[in-house]
Symmetry: C2
Amino acid sequence: MSDASYDVVGIGNAIVDIIARCDEAFLSNHGMEKGFMQLISAGQANELYGDMGTAIEQSGGSAANSCAGIASFGGKCAFIGRVAGDQFGKIFAHDIRAVGVAYDTPASDAGLPTARCLVLVTPDGERTMNTFLGASTELGAGDVDGALIASAQVTYLEGYLFDKPQAKAAFVEAAKLAGKAGRKVALTLSDAFCVDRHREDFLELVRGGVDILFANETEITSLYQMNAFDDAAGAVRAECEIAVLTRSEAGAVIISGNETIHVPANPVERVVDATGAGDLYAAGFLYGLTSAQSLETCGKLGALAASEIISHIGARPEGSLKDLAKAKGLLS
Amino acid sequence: MSDASYDVVGIGNAIVDIIARCDEAFLSNHGMEKGFMQLISAGQANELYGDMGTAIEQSGGSAANSCAGIASFGGKCAFIGRVAGDQFGKIFAHDIRAVGVAYDTPASDAGLPTARCLVLVTPDGERTMNTFLGASTELGAGDVDGALIASAQVTYLEGYLFDKPQAKAAFVEAAKLAGKAGRKVALTLSDAFCVDRHREDFLELVRGGVDILFANETEITSLYQMNAFDDAAGAVRAECEIAVLTRSEAGAVIISGNETIHVPANPVERVVDATGAGDLYAAGFLYGLTSAQSLETCGKLGALAASEIISHIGARPEGSLKDLAKAKGLLS
């Protein structure tokens, strides 16, 4: 795959995170399911923001976080996703370009503001997300640049895009284009409730066009409606070239053909904020894969990136992941 | 002073910080003086932002940071400062209210955007600031609520306000109103270059209306144009009821009448980001003073708050300073 201009092109929602700490009672008082993502309206976003404590703002978005992570490892990345021309849109565009990710999707002028995610971080470091998709939903099949897709080793798609029909169409179009160009398609299931909302469509895509699947334990068991992780892991083995199943502090299981590789989590002193753990795991894995590392090393790079991201607030790396990987002897 | 509704009312620039890491070369390539603040135009801000790496956004502003800190100790605070009605203005207003600070200055409609400060943090944790004042300069004497000033034990003013004539008028008006109401006036000199720009006016205010002066070593020596810290400390003794002179890791010297109290810095594992160190020192000190603590305890509370703020990115406390002070046995 060395003729590719890009290692990875990511497609996803272009979001700015608004991150605040809260206690457990805040979640239950606001009817949130801890650890999950729910979609909210503009009005709900305003109301919830009013109730939240002092916050910080930082660019986010699942696939966008992964792209930023891959770039931080030294990989060549492009991102496709829609912002509006407002302040948050400028922040998103600045931050993703500042880490070296190519980003050229035109800003939406449909009147919806840039997407925001209200992230609540509880004292245990778990994050609970409330997303107003705004301009992100304006992403359409026309935004998917066929030449760009064909020029990347891997097209990486976030499952969250399935939540809006137009974005879903863009998603399916991208998977088709990548397949036609003989490129790999990677997908993250994103969230167990998101899987619940779109199970049949996800299954169709996993069976038809996905080469590399990322999922955590709740997502993969939700996809196959199986209670046991091992059963779901068995089911996915037959359907994807590579499945990367993450289990938080229990590490990850990589399934590929007859192989089953267990990669332990990288220990952290304290989980400060779990936001972006899955996104950065995918970043490390995809960077490894597109630079021809073994699956085990791919898993270790994922675990390393995830451990960096959960040791501080926010879902974008604070330092160079390449330097970190070199210091750990994972890259030369 | 127990008849006061507020412990402290702060008056300052209402700013959102845009914080990014950079190396030493970035500062010199952009002609910045490390560790200081310079004022920049909207155009310069756009250009510099384009050159900066991935950033986070967080509410800032010197006196506003102090108010947030006092509130985090459990103090009653109000803040006066101007934002615009834009996204950054909403962020600023949300964050200061979210920590319990009363904030009612109407947003400016003069067309200038909310002030922003581009903060560059070098690997040593030092911060270098580039401020576009925007709507902050629209603060005028009419925004200074006499009843509010009269209802607070201390009116706290940031020297940065001197950089614009209209804000300076508001500043002088506030000091007068506080004096008339028999309340205390506190001033921070803010920045050595700011002192340079307005030395005579600062000296007049320090001699005429300031009861409590906050300054670091470069600021106090700049004010009196003396090379030696001890000489400057001697000069200020005759002019203010209390002078709080901070010297980074060398701790602080509190001067009051014949008393000279040395308070060591609170040790930190690593200086992650020095932004807000002075603001939070002032917060701890003023919280102590308005809750009738000894000057030494005031200094220790200042050192504790400063050590919290420099151990993470951003100039707003990450947790409750009251809880932290209790854990250290400084408050009961």
